[in-house]
Symmetry: C2
Subunit: 340 residues, 2 copies
């Protein structure tokens, strides 16, 4: 990406092992993330550009001499952050705060929207998929790179169980997979706030029991009406803009939890007596440590119990990646898969 | 209180039963709360004034015909909010959000800095103390009305266990009892941030392992230095002013919890990527449902395992209540007990 709206597919040298803990992964599928649209709107023009993409699955092509758990030919899932797997944060399942880790497209670590990627700290970062994979499973496996694990993080941090009523704010891929996650964790009442019929229909398929298309005060009132005036125990906020935060505050029940996984596009927000404190509302969430969840979520993906890959409604070639960005930006595509 | 700084002890008619669920309690001990200092600084002048006090222990003098669990002569603890004990929030242990409850000194419910109080919803509100009580136990029992349960709420909401490192911000009665609570919940490292030597010494007696007198960036740096650069898992914020919030954000470890029980004197605060979100920090807390904790905390108070009443360092008569306010405001008293 060479500036806002300027995505180009260019030829660069193949990545190579730089550190003995690296692996080179040949990308089988990558994708465009809702969060990639932030730089798509605002990235300053630059001559060198920046590599893009933080979600990919692929096959190990080469390993550094210190890589112990992976071998050439392994089919792997890459989480959206790389991590050593051994530091105090990784051991606690917060790999996004790994003391030696980092994020794709930063420094000399390039992105997943490519033919191949150098993966640092490969033992800690990559998850080997045990079975023989069929192409029909690619989409769901790819969702484990980010959006499924991120929706799951929202639901886990909110402490969802069968006793929890849930509102999900946002009908993007993360919001829809937060619905699926809440359902998997036992929630019986899941209210999805979103305006795009095709998306909210998928949300219903994933487990939403109610759909509210209104926003702002109207939307809040409708959630309150559905819940006897009290709101829901959990609110999963998968947008990141201030109006979504305000909606979350409006629909959360006293003693409840607002769990954010939409990257906040604001720094300050109401948290005082009139918003969170007076009602004993908990605010939680952050960048999902999807690495912590992949092994846990994988079995139901592999045996077809869940199909999170349904969020992909468009596939493009690597050369067509700029079209993928444009379609996601125009909301004509929900989530775009890239086939290098 | 007839305005900022204007506390008067006046003669009013004895309270009487208004509703069949009421009880009249003869006050044995009451006290002045740190939160009473907010109106002491800012209450507009009024001719009628407002009753004060929300913490008291006493003896049941009369019960309404629908009161089932209390009898004349029972020694009781009154929590700082009254509640029905039966609504969905009370059953979940969030009595401060009781659908039929409320707070003292509101409407026709008067306060605890008095000789006697009409207690609404007495069955739900009051906790009968089972044993014969000695005067030496009054202070600790009185602390269960608010400050001990509030410190406990901070610690419980932060999820403290033996694996949790803790910072407590504030050396008022609530902060010190948050230290005690963290210790009771198993914390082995408790850093107390406070500047008043007599108070922090009590904090050490309650279980603080380190005391930091510096504030702001200096104070933050000292906590980081004590924790290998990472901060503590839990931060119990018992002040309520913005600098305390900023300190909390500065010392909380990635993946940790800021638990607030100091009533926020601000509405907006930093919660975005640079403060809470990026580090997956959880913000929790609110008005403590102390009613939910009294029975749980009572045994160790009665058998002398803990002595939360040590926070009372000054006793005044009811007539001297204005002096009690002045001394707490001047910080020459930590917490003032009132003996009607």
């Amino acid at each position: 990406m060479f500036g806002a709206g300027d995505v180009r597919v260019i030829t660069v040298p193949d990545p190579s092992i730089l550190n003995p803990t690296d692996a080179i992964v040949r990308v089988t599928r990558a994708c465009v993330c809702g969060s990639d649209l932030h730089p798509y709107h605002s990235l300053p023009v630059s001559e060198r550009g920046t590599s893009m993409g933080h979600e990919f699955i692929g096959v190990v092509e080469e390993v550094g001499r210190d890589v112990a758990t992976l071998a050439v030919g392994d089919f792997v899932i890459a989480p959206f952050a790389w991590s050593d797997g051994t530091c105090e944060f990784c051991r606690e399942g917060l790999q996004t705060s790994c003391t030696h880790g980092g994020f794709w497209n930063s420094g000399d670590v390039k992105g997943g929207q490519a033919e191949a990627v150098r993966v640092p700290l490969a033992d800690g970062t990559l998850v080997k998929v045990p079975d023989t994979i069929e192409e029909s499973q690619y989409a769901s496996l790819l969702s484990l790179s980010d959006v499924y694990g991120t929706g799951w993080h929202a639901a886990v941090r909110a402490g969802i169980s069968s006793d929890t009523t849930v509102t999900v704010i946002g009908d993007g891929a993360v919001g829809l997979l937060a619905v699926l996650s809440a359902k998997q964790l036992g929630a019986e009442r899941i209210i999805l706030m979103g305006r795009h019929t095709a998306r909210t229909e998928l949300g219903v398929r994933f487990g939403a029991t109610d759909v509210i298309t209104a926003r702002g005060e109207d939307g809040i009132q409708q959630v309150l009406d559905l819940t006897g005036g009290g709101g829901t125990h959990a609110v999963l906020e998968a947008v990141g803009h201030m109006p979504a935060y305000q909606q979350a505050v409006g629909v959360v029940r006293a003693g409840g939890v607002i769990s954010r996984v939409g990257v906040p596009q604001y720094e300050d927000a109401p948290v005082g007596f009139g918003s969170l404190f007076g009602k004993n509302v908990t605010l939680t969430g952050g960048p999902a440590p999807v690495r912590a969840y992949i092994e846990q979520l994988l079995p139901a993906v592999l045996d077809g119990t869940v199909d999170p890959g349904l969020v992909f409604d468009r596939t493009v070639s690597l050369e067509e990646t700029p079209i993928g960005y444009a379609e996601m930006d125009a909301r004509t595509a929900l989530k775009v898969m890239v086939t290098p």
